[in-house]
């Protein structure tokens, strides 16, 4: 069936609006701030036979774009042919079956119209606590998935419209925060109900044949568009490597290596030279690895739509059972760190082909920091949040100060909300000087967060990265400052042996933990940055006078103005040696 260009464009807007509306419904109703504030959730429409992504919401977590297709596929496989009925709703969090990590619970709903299966609607959301050894589930010491939380394979939460309360009972019994779980689960159900109503109305208006043909054409057009974007890059093979500090168990760096080949309108992303699977929880599944590449490509080629067609011209080479394609029961809880590094190597590789199309590396770690304990009345509390850092410089401008991670559009909760909810106070919440990678366009600044405990005792848990290998610059730009975490105990200040990963840090009333996050990498040679702008950075306290001199070759007089002669000498030492 041929669909005219206008109907296609109109229906595309309608489909996207439905996905966006499902996102918005969950964000408003969710209990835990990771969904409500950090938008760690996503919704979309998926193919009835293959599970391929048809349409995905614009406001959900970018990394789920792509990963969800594998989740829907696992439900299709489990149910078997003719295994679906109206009113069914599946739930699971198995990270090896199209998953990310255990915290992400997926709900998959077959959408029937006139008695026929038309497509699937799916919802994924990051729940606050799903059991395991560590509150909040970022357990850097896990060596098996069983230490990370409960693992639920695809099961029916609703069977032909009938709620199976026993499933909810099982889930609730395995969480430290069952009320939060119940609230988030209801929010996801509401979102899917709404998606079903909207899709039903659309199908009644346009008919299944037209709607189905539109979805197929949109996929083909996405592939066409991606091919055009790739064709605009010069042909050739480039390589980039970057590193994870360690896996939290063994203090050895893990390599993520990309050999990227562009040949006309096709692209090969070869990660074969990356590290093998590791003991600790920074492994990821192949589905997650592919989704990470999609996210990176979408940042570079912003025009391409969010459906499966985009990856059609891209071939992936990822070794089986490697860090980037792991099998059960290897732990995967810290998947965010690994995919951030994958995005970094894609940026670094594409920068070698077309630097103006990409940005330098962002801060590159989500820094999941939780603090947990009991109040005087015995009530348990768990504070859990992600923290921000700088974005990379790019060919037009400096990077953004204190942004969110490339894999998400998360905002940070207000510190006043955190202080009102948990027995802590922040003693600092500030930009971190000298954290942005030097460059003609400087990387954005990371932040300093310092938190003091107001109860008798608590345990802190950190899952972060970029403590040893800072975010890289591109096109001659320099790296940013590395991540740094310190905590006070009775005998003084400490740093974790694994730098940015640690469980069960015991702190007492009045003691503080301090997180200093990386900035973004720089873009272009720092020696070519306008000295007046360097002087402004120094006046603002973004860059110290020493760093101005060392990194930018800019010398300032005591009043803060550029010392032109001294700057010229710093920047062009050779000129001075030549005889006048």
């Amino acid at each position: 069936m041929e669909i005219d260009a206008v109907t296609l464009a109109i229906l595309k807007g309608r489909f996207e609006q439905i996905a966006d509306e499902m996102d918005a419904t969950l964000f408003r109703a969710a209990f835990n701030p990771i969904i409500a504030e950090a938008h760690d959730a996503s919704h979309g429409l998926y193919d009835a036979e293959t599970g391929m992504t048809l349409v995905q919401g614009k406001s959900g977590l970018p990394i789920f774009v792509g990963a969800m297709a594998f989740a829907v596929k696992s439900v299709i496989d489990k149910a078997g042919p003719d295994g679906h009925a109206p009113g069914d709703l599946w739930i699971f969090n198995d990270p090896y079956d199209g998953g990310t990590h255990l915290s992400d619970f997926r709900l998959v709903k077959p959408l029937f119209h006139d008695g026929r299966l038309f497509c699937f609607l799916a919802s994924v959301g990051h729940w606050h606590d799903v059991g395991g050894n560590v509150p909040g589930n970022y357990n850097p010491a896990a060596t098996e998935v069983f230490q990370e939380g409960m693992l639920i394979p695809p099961v029916k939460l609703y069977d032909k419209g009938e709620l199976r309360q026993d499933i909810i009972d099982i889930l609730s019994a395995n969480s430290r925060l069952p009320l939060s779980l119940y609230g988030d689960l209801n929010g996801q159900i509401n979102a899917l109900d709404l998606g079903e109503r909207r899709m039903t109305a659309l199908l009644e208006e346009y008919g299944e044949a037209t709607a189905g043909a539109c979805l197929r054409q949109l996929k083909e057009r996405a592939a066409t568009m991606m091919r055009a974007q790739i064709a605009a890059l010069p042909d050739g093979t480039v390589s980039a490597e970057d590193w994870l500090d360690n896996d939290g168990i063994v203090d050895e760096p893990l390599k993520i290596a990309l050999d990227l080949t562009v040949e006309k309108d096709r692209m090969v992303m070869d990660f074969s030279r990356s590290s093998p699977a590791c003991q600790g929880p920074v492994n990821i599944s192949r589905a997650t690895a592919v989704a990470a590449c999609y996210t990176a490509l979408k940042h570079i080629f912003g025009e391409v739509p969010a459906n499966a067609g985009v990856l059609e011209p891209v071939e992936f080479r990822i070794a089986e059972d490697s860090l980037l394609s792991v099998k059960a029961p290897k732990p995967v809880g810290g998947y965010t760190e690994t995919i951030l590094r994958m995005i970094d190597v894609v940026f670094q590789a594409v920068a070698q082909l077309a630097p103006e199309k990409t940005v330098a590396c962002a801060y590159g770690t989500i820094n999941a920091l939780s603090m947990a304990g009991h109040r005087a009345n015995g009530a348990r509390w768990v504070m859990f949040s992600f923290f921000g850092g700088g974005h990379g410089g790019h060919h037009q401008d400096d990077g953004l100060n204190h942004g969110n991670a490339p894999i998400s559009t998360a905002t940070i909760p207000p510190l006043e909300i955190l202080e009102a909810a948990y027995p802590v106070r922040f003693t600092q919440w500030a930009l971190r000087p000298d954290s942005g990678g030097p460059g003609r366009h400087r990387g954005g600044l990371g932040a300093v967060y310092e938190i003091e405990l107001l109860e008798e005792s608590a345990d802190a848990f950190l899952f972060g990265e970029r403590g040893k290998f800072p975010p890289q610059g591109i096109a001659g730009g320099a790296p940013a400052a590395a991540n740094r975490f310190t905590y006070q105990q009775a005998d003084g200040a400490h740093e974790p042996p694994m730098v940015s990963k640690m469980v069960g840090i015991h702190i007492a009333r009045g003691q503080r933990v301090r997180l200093e996050t990386p900035g973004g990498g720089g873009y272009g040679d720092p020696q070519s940055r306008d000295p007046q702008i360097v002087a402004r950075d120094v006046a603002r306290g973004f860059v110290s006078p020493e760093a101005a001199r060392r990194d930018y070759g800019v010398s300032l007089d005591p009043a803060g103005a550029v010392d032109q002669a001294a700057t010229a000498r710093l920047r062009h030492p050779k000129d001075e040696k030549e005889p006048a």
């Binding site: 595309k12 504030e37 940005v359 942004g403 202080e419």
Partner: protein
Amino acid sequence: MSAFVVGVDVGGTFTDVFVLDEAEGAIRIAKVPSTFGDQSRGFIEGIGDAVDDFAQIRTVVHGTTVGTNALLERKGARTGIITTEGFRDVLEMRRRDRPATWGLRGSFEPVVDRGDRLEVAERVLADGSVLEPVDAAAVQDRARALSTAGCEAVCVFFINGYANSANETQAVEAVRRVWPNAYVSAATEILPEIREFERLSTATLNAYLQPAVSSYLDRLQSGLKQRDFGGDVLIVQSNGGVMAVESAKRYPVRTALSGPAAGVIAAKAIAGAAGFENLITCDMGGTSFDVSLVAGGKAAIAAQTSIDFGMVVRTPMIEITTIGAGGGSIAYLDQSGLLQVGPESAGSNPGPVCYGLGNTRPTVTDANLLLGRINPERPIGGKLEKLDVAAARAAMEAVIAGPLDLSVEEAAEAVIRLANAKMAGAIRLVSIERGHDPAKFTAMPFGGGGALHTGALIKEVGLGAALVPRFPGVTSALGCVVADMRHDRVQTVNRLLAQTDFAALQSEMTAVAEATEAVVRGSGIAFERIERSYEFDMLYLGQTHSIAVPLEIPPEGLDQAAVTAAFEAAYRAAYGRLLENIPIRLMNYRVTVTGRRPAFDMGVFAPAGGRPAADCAIGSREVYAEGRFWTATVYERLELEAGALVPGPALLEQADATIFIDPGLSGRVDGFGNLIISDREGQQ
């Protein structure tokens, strides 16, 4: 002796003046070019065009964009911040967001430079206890430093000030002792609500605007006084209510959406008089399409908005949803060959191809022209002599029709259909997505071009009808004249219901309401009556987003049962299902005091001396719609009598707008001069 009420809306291009002569029950309208640099000149001239003797003016009501423009162009005063030690970057760190989901580009310059954000030792905890008192001498050191540096305004902002403002208040007093300055404020005076970034951003932008807006309003007042004006000046707020000019000088940030809000208020009043309580206003400009919802006679109110990335203003304001689809929106084919319209816009300069000012990419206006819906000899706005049809045709052929193998008319209609689909999406967003049935809503276009598209929107979204007011071009100025006075207050409570002392809460809320009512009464304006309303922001323990819970204080007083019932009703309406056994938290209370101004008689718009439709036809044009050409009769709109029936396809022309009635629809002029378009009118 006459008594005039004058509404003035200063827009980017024109200053519109709407004068109501209360004694005669007559209206006058004036339109003069806006004056750049000092809008108050155009303001005075505009009134002078319509009124000879300023002494006869009782009230001047003003919708202003001075505040909005100062924010967008970053032309506010140099402002300093004095804040808690450790927190000087709250304004710059925002909520760790970014301007666009994809691309990781974009930056943010806060309106206060880092060097003008100074810290002092002090600390209040979340429970309101003072951990460390503030040292007045240290505050005064910072104040002197900011003053010396050249700051004109200063905002004092302390963490957790919403829970206890004692330190902040002491600090503000200390600043004022060493630096007598009208532009010193405490963040909690502007917004005593939890969430540090939103509070600081709102208070800082307020301080940043104070000098500019105050001096503008001073100039305006003295200009009026020179012409012997002795009445009151009122300013329209973003919430759709007016405030006294002295309040506007104190809270200029409340004018951030003053102009658009006035338009919505007018739409509500016009439609209300005509018998339409449910309304979707559609304001189509050159680059954007703004929609707003009025349900049951009430405009939807949003708690906050971003004027630009990171420039958050948290004060109640009429909720206006904007999408990038205006007359200047550019149509193109993307790399996959899919037709796209906007968000890139040719604006008003160079504008559409047919303006002949250099743009060669076809726009929505070009498409309307090629479909015969715009008269090339009579461009609206009066800036151009005529429109270049041939150039528009060539552009449409080259960019759309040729590559898609369509005729130029088919291509132009495709562009319009896609633009309409985007507008329909915006309307769905505010109606269907909020649980409203569009069939019960009437579209009300204002601005010059909106009425070309309303017929299609009726069909696309399933709206009941469209109402085109008699003077679509001066809607905002009319809104100034009809707006009520409204003041909003908020205070964070942050307690579980089980832990709330409702008697104390009620007396606090009542005291706030009385103080606010005193401000309304003190304005010197005559009101028919003054109303109070209360609303709580509430949520289940563990949630982060609250819902608005309207409630009335029962005669026997507030108690937990009444508040719980109100919350559950609101929650069920929002999400469908309640959650069991979860404690409920009361985050904020909100108090609104409204002074109702005397009702405006829309009868002044009644078309006197009109003629039947057949007598108003001034010709015909070939229009292209639904894949074929039609012969559309062209009417002189303002000459139609009440009750006149105009069957589609038809075009109605007037100086400030063109209206297209699609084939299959028809229009009827009502007793107030409005044109009601629907698919039913013809059958009556």
